[in-house]
Symmetry: C2
Subunit: 183 residues, 2 copies
């Protein structure tokens, strides 16, 4: 069965973006880059929320030639984006979906392939945690209380027990925590 | 100026108690006890929220003789409890208050004495953080997503920057983090 990981950067008060969606408070550092460099080769599939997909597109380097596609990890990875508003179907190397995320990822885990990464906010992330299809979670807790914003966690119907795998203190004051989800 | 510390135990999704106020999910361990043993001698004053005060009373060992008071840290420490419902005034070694917590703690910091500890949930804790009177925060992050409960953090009017002082991984899977508040 393929391992499913849900992770992101968050503030200590568990916001993943400001109210207006901005993420100017994110700290960059070699240690976080190293975590990501180790992680990318393990996965071949990405499941994203639509808002996170929009943000990932903004982060992508601008194409140098006209009509050239932006260079992102998308394209090298099989990418699924869940959206309630966009038309389902394949375009721009992405499959857009509006079906039940839990059932979809449960099915995806049964297929052959490498690990699966969930890049999403609280809506999709918590839906998948509640559905019991997430095996690991990892957060890069930033040294800031944003006070308001887009929440990482939403109300869930039941408690989810975790096992701490790793805890690292980064030079920039971030704390990186990784847990096994006891499904 | 006396140092003010706000701290508590929380779930990874930042709840400090279940919806019904219960805290059966709290893990005990020698490392957390050690942190508290180092902390107690530094303080001589405690500022509590009323709900936290009620919980602290439950935690106190039962008196062995009739009419004997429960043995808590309260009594050894000057204790103030903020409550919107209880009658203000001194009783049972405690001063009950319903004034503005920020102004009260700001005044308290100017007085002679040892450090001040805030034992409270999000209501009082965030009011004091917003008022800029908290110097340090420390949380014992438990390896669990409660899914719902009493929130540690409430919406705040502005961002609060932090400096990570300490991050410790406990044997029981808790992560203890301590930050300086950049007021």
């Amino acid at each position: 069965m393929r391992k499913v990981t849900f992770g992101c950067a968050n503030s200590l008060d568990n916001f993943i973006a400001r109210e207006d969606g901005s993420y100017d408070w994110l700290l960059h550092g070699e240690e976080a880059n190293e975590v990501m460099r180790e992680f990318w080769p393990k996965i071949d599939t990405m499941v994203m929320g639509r808002k996170t997909y929009d943000i990932a597109q903004q982060f992508a380097p601008k194409p140098k030639k006209k009509n050239q596609k932006p260079k992102t990890h998308i394209g090298q990875l099989k990418t699924y984006v869940f959206s309630r508003t966009l038309e389902p179907g394949e375009r721009d190397d992405v499959t857009f979906l509006n079906s039940d995320p839990g059932a979809f990822v449960r099915e995806l885990k049964q297929q052959d392939g490498k690990e699966i990464c969930i890049m999403a906010g609280g809506d999709l992330g918590c839906a998948l945690l509640e559905a019991g299809v997430v095996d690991e979670i990892g957060f890069n807790i930033h040294p800031v209380l944003l006070g308001s914003g887009v929440p990482l966690f939403h109300k869930m119907s039941h408690q989810i027990d975790l096992e701490l795998i790793e805890c690292r203190q980064f030079k920039n004051g971030c704390v990186y925590v990784r847990y096994r989800v006891k499904n």
